[in-house]
């Protein structure tokens, strides 16, 4: 079975998560083998997901941890009283 690019795009996310039913996965796979556009879309999406998951993208404000634990210490002291 042959499918068009725009149908393949609907499956990008589930394809990357490996949650597509076997049959659909095979159809998408075959399309990717000869479609450089869809392959590039898939590769770039996968790449972007990996980059966004990196801890370096969002960093905690300087001193966040110290302030948080100081606040917790106050709370713990209250509790013990």
């Amino acid at each position: 079975m042959v499918i068009e690019c725009k149908h393949v795009w609907n499956y990008i996310s589930e394809y990357l998560d490996g949650t597509l039913p076997e049959e659909t996965r095979t159809i998408v796979q075959r399309h990717l083998e000869h479609c450089e556009i869809c392959s590039a879309i898939l590769d770039s999406t996968r790449n972007i997901i990996i980059l966004t998951a990196d801890d370096r993208v969002f960093e905690l404000p300087v001193g966040f941890s110290e302030r948080l634990h100081a606040r917790i210490d106050l709370e713990l002291a209250e509790t013990e009283r």
Binding site: K6, W9, N10, I12, S13, E14, L16, E36, I37, S39, A40, I41, D43, S44, T45, N47, I48, I49, I50, L51, T52, A53, D54, D55, R56, V57, F58, L60, P61, F64, S65, R67, L68, H69, R71, I72, E75, L76, T79, E80
Partner: protein, 209 residues
């Protein structure tokens, strides 16, 4: 601070805290500081307020620790408390969410990716550059809220589909649809920009090619 107990199961640590070893709370939450802050930031859009919400969430979680049941993960429970805290704060501030503008319904039309013929892998080292980090932060921050939350929980915090559904009180199929849209929107926004950066970088490094 007393010695930490890094490999002790979380459930045991929680039981110990409830039994009076309250200092252990510091250790219990250490792995989740970033997650909680990030989820607070996704609502508050301002670092100082996000920090405030995060602190408040950790304090509330401590006060309510005895109501935590082991059927959810501690992290999921903590994030739910954070989201509630953020929503309550916005409500108190009188921020009225424009549901129809802010939150497109799930049935809204599909999103299309940016088209390209080839993709050269952007290595993680690219994140050492401020420019690249800012680009990615901005792309995530400007996602419509319902997509951003699902994306952050699934792809940044790495919760699974059902944990994400539980945390946001939405269905599993909504999680999948929103995650798909979020990912495609990010590809659409970021792929063309990152591609240019990749090329400029290559030119700088390999002037002879």
């Amino acid at each position: 601070m007393q010695a930490s107990t890094p490999n002790r199961p979380e459930a045991e640590v929680i039981a110990a805290i409830l039994a009076g070893e309250t200092q252990l709370y510091h250790e219990l939450i250490r792995p989740y500081e970033r997650s909680v802050y990030l989820m607070a930031l996704s609502y508050m859009k301002n670092e100082a307020e996000a920090e405030d919400v995060a602190q408040e969430a950790f304090i509330k979680a401590f006060r309510n620790l005895s109501t935590f049941r082991g059927d959810a993960k501690f992290s999921t429970w903590l994030i739910s408390i954070t989201l509630n805290e953020a929503r309550n704060r916005l409500r108190r501030q009188g921020v009225v969410r424009m549901q129809s503008l802010d939150e497109p319904p799930d049935e809204a039309g599909s999103v299309s990716p940016a088209l390209m013929r080839d993709w050269r892998e952007i290595p993680s080292e690219a994140l050492e550059r401020d420019e690249v980090r800012r680009l990615i932060q901005k792309a995530i921050e400007t996602l419509p809220e319902i997509y951003k939350q699902v994306f952050l929980l699934r792809d940044v915090e790495e919760l699974d589909v059902s944990e994400t559904a539980q945390t946001l009180s939405i269905s599993i199929s909504n999680v999948k649809v929103r995650l798909h849209r979020a990912r495609v929107m990010l590809q659409q926004e970021l792929a063309p920009q990152l591609k240019t950066i990749g090329r400029a970088q290559k030119r700088r490094w390999l002037p002879w090619s």
